[in-house]
């Protein structure tokens, strides 16, 4: 449908995917006529695969994104980018946090796969890797990686920086607002630096 933006956020339970998708949905709710968001996750437990679908624009009916129509897929973890990549449209943007979270395993041991980046690159998507987790650690709180990721994502969405800041102030516990705003800014700057580098290369 025209004027509808489809975004998917995926990762591992406990990484903050659901909080990040709530923040994004609230920002979109401030600026767009319609927003729908839905998620799929298993029973209440840590470490499972999580995916959240977000759609916003003039008229949105289905909360779920069709395969092959996602504008942006944000992966909080590398392997999850592969798991949900087919939701992305051809040439769509994959934003990948450059960490690997080993799945808990119940059968025979399998090592964490190698060659993820080459694999998704060959699928014809635009790929951007971001060191959100290491940057969050540098800020002193590994949990703010999700806000760094949102900052980087914000550069690709038509949603105002003021709305992002308003929602972060409203949604995040007061004690943590400053560090989360700082994290968001780190993400924005990361995206800006990348855009400038791309211009220079061209």
């Amino acid at each position: 449908m025209a004027n509808v933006t489809n975004v998917l956020l995926c990762g591992v339970g406990g990484q903050g995917v659901l909080l990040a998708s709530e923040v994004l949905a609230l920002v979109a709710a401030e600026e767009k006529a319609q927003v729908k968001q839905t998620e799929v996750h298993g029973v209440a437990q840590r470490g499972g695969s999580v995916v959240s679908h977000l759609r916003f624009g003039d008229q949105v009916y289905s909360p779920t994104v069709r395969t092959g129509t996602g504008d942006i897929l944000v992966a909080f973890e590398r392997l999850e980018a592969v798991r949900y990549g087919h939701y992305l449209k051809s040439g769509g943007l994959m934003l990948i946090n450059d960490i690997e979270v080993m799945p808990g395993q119940i059968g025979e041991y399998q090592p964490y796969p190698t060659g993820i980046m080459e694999f998704v690159q060959n699928k014809g998507f635009q790929i951007q890797e971001i060191p959100a987790t290491s940057q969050a650690k540098a800020l002193g709180n590994p949990k703010v990686s999700s806000l760094i990721i949102l900052g980087a994502l914000s550069a690709h969405l038509d949603l105002s920086q003021q709305a992002w800041e308003r929602v972060i102030r409203k949604r995040i516990p007061p004690k943590l607002v400053d560090i989360n705003l700082q994290a968001f800014k780190v993400g924005v700057e990361m995206a800006q630096a990348r855009a400038q580098a791309a211009v220079v290369r061209d």
Partner: protein, 582 residues
């Protein structure tokens, strides 16, 4: 709550239903936790205008709400779809009497079985009980239709089934808020024996119920919320609920008859609609509930389960595939060496210690409904059946009667209260030898940690009398009752062995809370560490199935997720696992 009439907010379907209850002037709400319905009551509990409480099970919730409704006030009860199986005894009989105050029963269905034991189309319940049913398609409708449900309930003095699905309950969308309508007592209380003593007056009441349904049938023919959205071309669609939203994405041009009330169906309206188009698609998730009724009226230009699946959740992709043979984009992750992230008991879960002991005992273990169902999966593989709430104890007794030796039932604290107690009474009464292990983790774990009668707190977090499980079990007549620490393997092994060896019924109650239970999250935790020099890489610590013990040739303990439960250290024969800092 920072919510005022006129505001437009992003809300999940369940939150919108709760808001609808507030706006409808609901006086009382009751329920039992169950995905995808749980949040409805949790959010309702935040409105001080509504008296709300968790019940011991869905039938109790229904009976309480029914009593409130008979006293003339608006009442609601909320449950997942299988909960309605539990409440069905009262649910089927109350319509014979009819309600006084508005009475709405919410059934949250789970097409696709995201968090459920079976797939069940609860629309049949409305037809079975001869009561009307309303289905919203998104959060705005979830709120607005709940108010319509109360109007309908009071107009015809009938309970109304409000059916939602996982996708409606758990999706967020924009919702415009309205005012609370303080209806108070919609009708004042009068003792109404000829309506309420159903068994004595059932014959005349059945005739009244049939007449009422006929009147509702007539009413829905012109019901304004069953709406036709005129499109282009000669394709029509009849749909409702979440399927409506997928229809609008895939067939944006088609004419759509969108049903708000899906039982009883507006027969003439549907016949007229079908006559206008070459082909009419009946787009409904799960069974052919609407389609079968339309076919019975002799309509032939319709298409439904001949092309759409009877199982699983619909989506725009599913509709596109069935209608246009448009294949969804292939999941390419299987071209890659992808690994899944299977659900597992959490690091520090107390159930693990009980399962390790049960596995060692070699008993056949009948299971129940809760997080502990995961004990069936490798490497624990220590639970061998799981069907429905409270089933484990009767099943264990049954296996024993069937000649199987060494059987134990496992059941959680909330589930024991919900449906286990009558079965344990039966074991004692009929001279059983059954062992029951109550996995008491002091919370309702799987649905997101709700309070229950044995946690000592109410839905609102107020102090409540705490049900004493040991005393209940003793009062039932079980003489062999032992409380055991699942983090002490010696003690747990011995408790299970003694219980299984005991002549007569026996109960073991574990005593460690869920890592997410109240107070547990704040408890300081010291993780364990593996001494690489002592470690022989035998893998014993990895075979306890703890996600905190990372896989690989050399086991490593993840110091973020480790809660220090010590089960891995007890599994190590080489003394290679020690508390950090020791």
């Amino acid at each position: 709550m920072m919510q005022e009439a006129g505001q437009r907010l992003l809300m999940a379907g369940n939150n919108a239903i709760a808001r609808g209850a507030y706006e409808a002037g609901v006086y009382f709400a009751s329920g039992y936790p169950g995905t995808p319905s749980t949040e409805i009551l949790e959010v309702i509990s935040q409105y001080s205008e509504i008296k709300a409480q968790w019940a011991a099970n869905e039938k109790v919730a229904f009976d309480e709400a029914m009593g409130v409704a008979m006293s003339g006030k608006r009442a609601l009860c909320s449950m997942k779809y299988v909960g309605l199986n539990v409440a069905a005894d009262s649910f089927m009989v109350f319509p014979f009497a009819g309600t006084v105050g508005g009475f709405v029963v919410i059934s949250a269905d789970d097409p696709g079985m995201y968090s459920s034991q079976n797939e069940q189309d609860n629309r049949y319940f409305a037809r079975l009980a001869q009561i009307p049913m309303i289905e919203p398609s998104d959060p705005q409708e979830a709120k607005d239709y709940l108010k319509l449900a109360y109007e309908l309930s009071e107009r015809f003095s009938t309970p109304v089934l409000f059916r939602t699905s996982m996708r409606v309950s758990h999706s967020k969308g924009m919702v415009t808020l309205g005012e609370r309508n303080e209806v108070g007592e919609s009708k004042s209380y009068i003792k109404d024996v000829p309506n309420w003593v159903v068994p004595i007056f059932a014959k005349s009441l059945k005739a009244k119920l049939d007449a009422k349904l006929a009147a509702i049938n007539e009413y829905v023919e012109t019901y304004e919320y069953n709406r036709i959205e005129k499109g282009k071309g000669n394709i029509g669609v009849i749909t409702s609920g979440a399927s409506y939203t997928y229809t609008k994405e895939i067939l944006p041009e088609a004419s759509v008859l969108k049903l708000a009330i899906t039982y009883p169906l507006p027969k003439q309206m549907i016949l007229d609609f079908c006559a206008q188009y070459d082909k009419v698609y009946i787009i409904e998730e799960l069974d052919s509930f609407i389609e079968d009724q339309i076919r019975a009226w002799g309509v032939t230009n319709i298409s439904g389960k001949d092309i759409f699946p009877r199982t699983g959740e619909f989506s725009p992709d599913v509709l596109a595939k069935c209608l246009f043979e448009e294949q969804p984009v292939k999941d390419f992750s299987n071209e890659f060496n992808i690994i899944s992230r299977p659900p597992q008991l959490c690091p520090g879960c107390p159930h693990r210690g009980a399962y390790l002991a049960l596995k060692k005992s070699g008993a056949l273990v009948t299971g129940d409904i809760g997080c502990y169902t995961l004990g069936a999966l490798p490497p624990l593989g220590a639970m061998h059946t799981s069907f429905a709430m409270g089933t484990s104890i009767g099943n264990a007794f049954g296996f024993e009667l069937g000649g199987i030796n060494k059987v134990a039932a496992v059941i959680g604290d909330a589930t024991f209260i919900h449906g286990g107690i009558p079965s344990l009474i039966d074991v004692v009464y009929n001279g059983g030898n059954t062992t029951v292990v109550i996995l008491d983790n002091s919370t309702t774990g799987m649905t997101g940690h709700q309070e229950h009668p044995a946690t000592g707190q109410t839905l609102q977090g107020k102090e409540a009398p705490k049900l004493d499980l040991v005393n209940i079990v003793k009062a039932i007549g079980v003489k062999h009752v032992q409380v055991a620490d699942p983090f002490d393997q010696k003690e747990m092994n011995q408790a299970i062995k003694d219980a299984l060896d005991n002549e007569g019924p026996s109960v073991v109650i574990t005593n460690r809370p869920c890592i997410f239970a109240r107070g547990e999250k704040q408890r300081p935790k010291t993780p364990y560490v593996i001494d690489i020099d002592k470690c022989t890489q035998c893998g014993a610590c990895q075979r306890i199935g703890c996600p905190g013990v990372l896989p690989g040739e050399q086991a490593v303990i993840d110091d973020v997720s480790c809660t220090g439960c010590s089960l891995c250290a007890q599994a190590c024969k080489f003394d290679a696992i020690y508390l950090k800092g020791e």
